[in-house]
C-alpha cells in the first residue's frame, strides 16, 4: 500500500532537535545570492543563447539560434539539399498551387531536423505532410499561397508524428542546379561548412550571440521581398493528378520522382506545403527590427532603443512582440528618466495587461517611476486602486511594493 500522506519532517520535530540537531542550521551555510541581478543575467543570457526570434515564434518554432527561425528554416532546408533559394520557395509554392487546383488543401507541417551546429542550424530537408487537417478556404484566399502552416524545427531531430504523415525527401524535388545563382551557392557552402557541436546547450551565450550577428543578415537577405515576390510571380499550373511542373522560376519539382517514390502505395490526395510564407518573410523583418532595438537597449543606448521600439510599434502594430516592445520601450523611458511619462503609460499598461505575464513588468516599471519621483507608497496605492478588480494584478502590486518600496 502506498503511503500518500507525507511523514512529519525532522526539521519540525522538537524531539529530533533535542536529541540530535536542528536541521535549520544547515541553511546558514548556504550562500547568499543576488537574486534580482541573477534574474536579469539569466534572462539576458537566455535571450542571447536562445535568440530573440524565438520570442516571436513562440509555439510555432523550436530553435536554438536566431538564424534558425522559421523563416530561415526553409531556406536552410533547401540550401542543405543543394537547392537554390528560389527553388525552395518555388517548390513549396508550386505544391501549394497544385493542391489548390485539386481543390483540397491540407494543413501541412514542415519539420526541419536539426543538425548539430552551434552557429547555424543546418537542417535536413524533409517535408512532412499531414493529411488529417484541411485548411479553410478563406484562409487560403487570405494568404494566397501561404497556408496556416505549422512550421516546426524539431530540436530533437526526430519527427514528432509519423502516423498519417507522408514525407517528401529531398529527392522528391529536383532542381536544375546550373540555374542556381553563384551568390546562393556561396551562401549554401557557407551554411553547410559551419562547425558542428554536439550540444547546442553548451554553447556560450556570447558565441551564439556573435554568430547571430554574423548570420542573420544572410538569411534576411535571401528572404528579401524581391525574392519572395519573384517566387510569387511563378505561374502555377493546377493539375488534378498532380504532375508537378513549374513554369518559370529557377526550380522544378519532379513529378516522376514523386511517382517513383510512392509507387506501390495507396494513392492519397496530395497534401501540400509551403515552406516559406509571406507571414514568415514578414516576421524576419519584424524580428530584426526588434532585435536592433533590443541590442541598443542591451548596449545602454536607451534613446536609440526607445526610438527603435517606438518605430517597431508603429510598423508592426499587430506584431507578436508588440507587448514586449511596449514594456521595453517603457523600460527605456525609465532609463531616460522620463518618470512622469512612464508613470502615466505604465499605469494604463498595467491595467491593460491583465492576465499577461508581462503585467508584472509593467507594474514594476510603474512603481519604479513613482519611486524615482519619491512617491513609492502613493504609486502602490494608485496601482492597487487601478487593479482592485484584478486579483492577480493586485497581488502582483503587493509583491512589487514589498520589493521596490521597502
Amino acid at each position: 500500500m502506498t503511503q500518500d500522506k507525507d511523514m512529519p519532517r525532522l526539521i519540525d520535530d522538537p524531539m529530533f532537535k533535542k536529541d540530535f540537531v536542528d536541521l535549520n542550521l544547515e541553511q546558514t551555510l548556504l550562500s547568499k545570492h543576488d537574486l534580482p541581478d541573477m534574474r536579469q543575467n539569466v534572462v539576458k543570457a537566455a535571450l542571447a543563447a536562445g535568440g530573440i526570434s524565438l520570442l516571436s515564434l513562440g509555439d510555432a518554432a523550436h530553435a536554438t539560434s536566431e538564424t534558425a527561425a522559421s523563416t530561415s528554416a526553409a531556406v536552410a532546408t533547401a540550401t542543405t539539399a543543394g537547392l537554390s533559394m528560389k527553388a525552395a520557395l518555388a517548390g513549396a509554392l508550386t505544391l501549394a498551387a497544385l493542391s489548390y487546383g485539386a481543390g483540397r488543401f491540407h494543413e501541412q507541417t514542415i519539420q526541419v531536423q536539426k543538425q548539430e551546429s552551434a552557429e547555424v542550424m543546418v537542417v535536413q530537408p524533409s517535408i512532412v505532410i499531414d493529411e488529417k487537417k484541411i485548411l479553410e478556404e478563406n484562409e487560403l484566399q487570405e494568404i494566397g499561397i501561404e497556408t496556416n502552416e505549422q512550421l516546426e524545427i524539431d530540436a530533437q531531430g526526430s519527427p514528432t508524428d509519423t502516423q498519417n504523415v507522408r514525407t517528401l525527401n529531398s529527392s522528391d524535388i529536383t532542381v536544375q542546379k546550373d540555374q542556381q545563382p553563384k551568390e546562393e551557392k556561396a551562401i549554401h557552402e557557407r551554411m553547410v561548412t559551419k562547425p558542428k557541436t554536439s550540444d547546442i546547450a553548451h554553447v556560450k551565450p556570447e558565441v551564439a550571440s556573435k554568430s547571430d550577428e554574423v548570420d542573420m543578415p544572410i538569411i534576411e537577405e535571401k528572404l528579401s521581398d524581391d525574392i519572395y515576390n519573384q517566387a510569387r510571380e511563378i505561374q502555377f499550373v493546377p493539375v488534378a493528378n498532380q504532375q508537378p511542373v513549374l513554369s518559370g522560376g529557377s526550380g522544378r519539382v519532379s513529378g516522376e520522382k514523386e511517382n517513383e517514390r510512392t509507387a506501390g502505395r495507396q494513392q492519397t490526395t496530395r497534401t501540400t506545403t509551403t515552406s516559406t510564407s509571406k507571414r514568415s518573410a514578414k516576421m524576419s523583418g519584424e524580428v530584426a527590427h526588434f532585435r536592433r532595438a533590443y541590442l541598443a537597449m542591451a548596449s545602454g543606448k536607451y534613446e536609440m532603443a526607445a526610438s527603435l521600439f517606438s518605430s517597431y510599434l508603429k510598423d508592426y502594430p499587430e506584431g507578436e512582440l508588440r507587448i514586449e516592445a511596449r514594456i521595453r520601450w517603457l523600460e527605456a523611458q525609465l532609463k531616460l528618466k522620463d518618470f512622469k511619462r512612464v508613470k502615466e503609460i505604465g499605469l494604463n499598461l498595467s491595467h491593460a495587461l491583465k492576465g499577461s505575464a508581462y503585467q508584472q513588468n509593467a507594474i514594476e516599471l510603474t512603481l519604479r517611476s513613482f519611486k524615482a519621483l519619491g512617491e513609492c507608497q502613493k504609486g502602490a496605492g494608485v496601482l492597487s486602486k487601478k487593479l482592485k478588480e484584478d486579483d492577480v494584478g493586485f497581488r502582483k502590486v503587493q509583491k512589487a511594493t514589498q520589493d521596490i518600496c521597502r
Binding site: A46, A49, L55
Partner: protein, 199 residues
C-alpha cells in the same frame, strides 16, 4: 504564486505554461531559482559555479520552453536538468581535481562570514551547522537527494517521486534509510568533535 503566470488549463487539468517570453522566464526564475540554487549548492558545494549551473539550466529551459508542457512539470523539469548539470560539473571539477579545493575554500569563506566573535552561541551554531552539512555529505548518493529535498527543502513526497522518477514507496523507504544514516553520521561526528575538544 501560481496565479501570477497567466496560466490556462489543459484538458488533463494541468496548467499550461505561459507563452515563451523573457517575462515568463523571469517569473519562472523567481519561482524556482532560489530552490535550484539551494539544491545545486548542496549537490556541488558553494561557489560561483552554482550560479553558472543554475543559469545554464534556465537557458536550456528557455530553449526548450515549448517542450516542458505543463506548469506543474516545470519544477520537476528544472530539477532534473539541474541534477544532470551538477553531474557534469562534478565530473569536470573532479577531473581537474579542484572539487575538494572548492569545498574547502568556500567552507572557509562561510566560516568567516558566520563567525561573529561577539557571540559564543553563534560559534556553537556555526559548528553545528557545519556538522549538519558534513553529516548530509556522508549520506549515500541514493538517499542524499531524497533527504535534502524532503527534510531541508520541504518538497512533498509525491513531487520527489516525480522529480526522481521513482515509486512513492521507494521514496519513503529511502527516506527512512537516510534518516538512519543521518543519525548515525551525526552521532559519529559529534563524538569526534567532543573527543577533539577534550584533547
Amino acid at each position: 504564486m501560481l496565479g501570477q503566470m497567466a496560466l490556462s488549463t489543459t484538458e488533463q487539468g494541468h496548467s499550461q505554461l505561459p507563452k515563451k517570453s523573457s517575462a515568463a522566464l523571469a517569473e519562472a526564475f523567481d519561482l524556482h531559482g532560489p530552490f535550484l540554487l539551494r539544491v545545486v549548492e548542496r549537490k556541488i558545494g558553494a561557489g560561483p559555479h552554482v550560479e553558472d549551473v543554475v543559469q545554464e539550466v534556465f537557458i536550456i529551459a528557455f530553449q526548450k520552453w515549448n517542450e516542458i508542457g505543463s506548469y506543474e512539470y516545470l519544477k520537476t523539469w528544472l530539477y532534473r536538468v539541474a541534477m544532470n548539470k551538477c553531474m557534469h560539473a562534478k565530473r569536470s571539477y573532479a577531473r581537474r581535481g579542484r572539487l575538494a579545493d572548492h569545498f574547502d575554500q568556500h567552507q572557509h569563506v562561510h566560516e568567516e562570514h558566520i563567525a561573529q566573535p561577539e557571540a559564543e552561541a553563534r560559534v556553537h551554531q556555526r559548528d553545528q551547522a557545519r556538522l549538519v552539512r558534513m553529516a548530509i555529505e556522508k549520506l549515500s548518493d541514493s538517499v542524499r537527494d531524497i533527504f535534502v529535498l524532503y527534510e531541508l527543502e520541504g518538497v512533498a513526497g509525491k513531487e520527489i517521486a516525480e522529480m526522481l522518477d521513482m515509486p512513492l514507496n521507494t521514496i519513503w523507504s529511502r527516506l527512512r534509510k537516510a534518516r538512519g544514516e543521518f543519525k548515525s553520521a551525526w552521532l559519529k561526528l559529534e563524538n569526534e568533535m567532543n573527543t577533539k575538544e577534550a584533547q
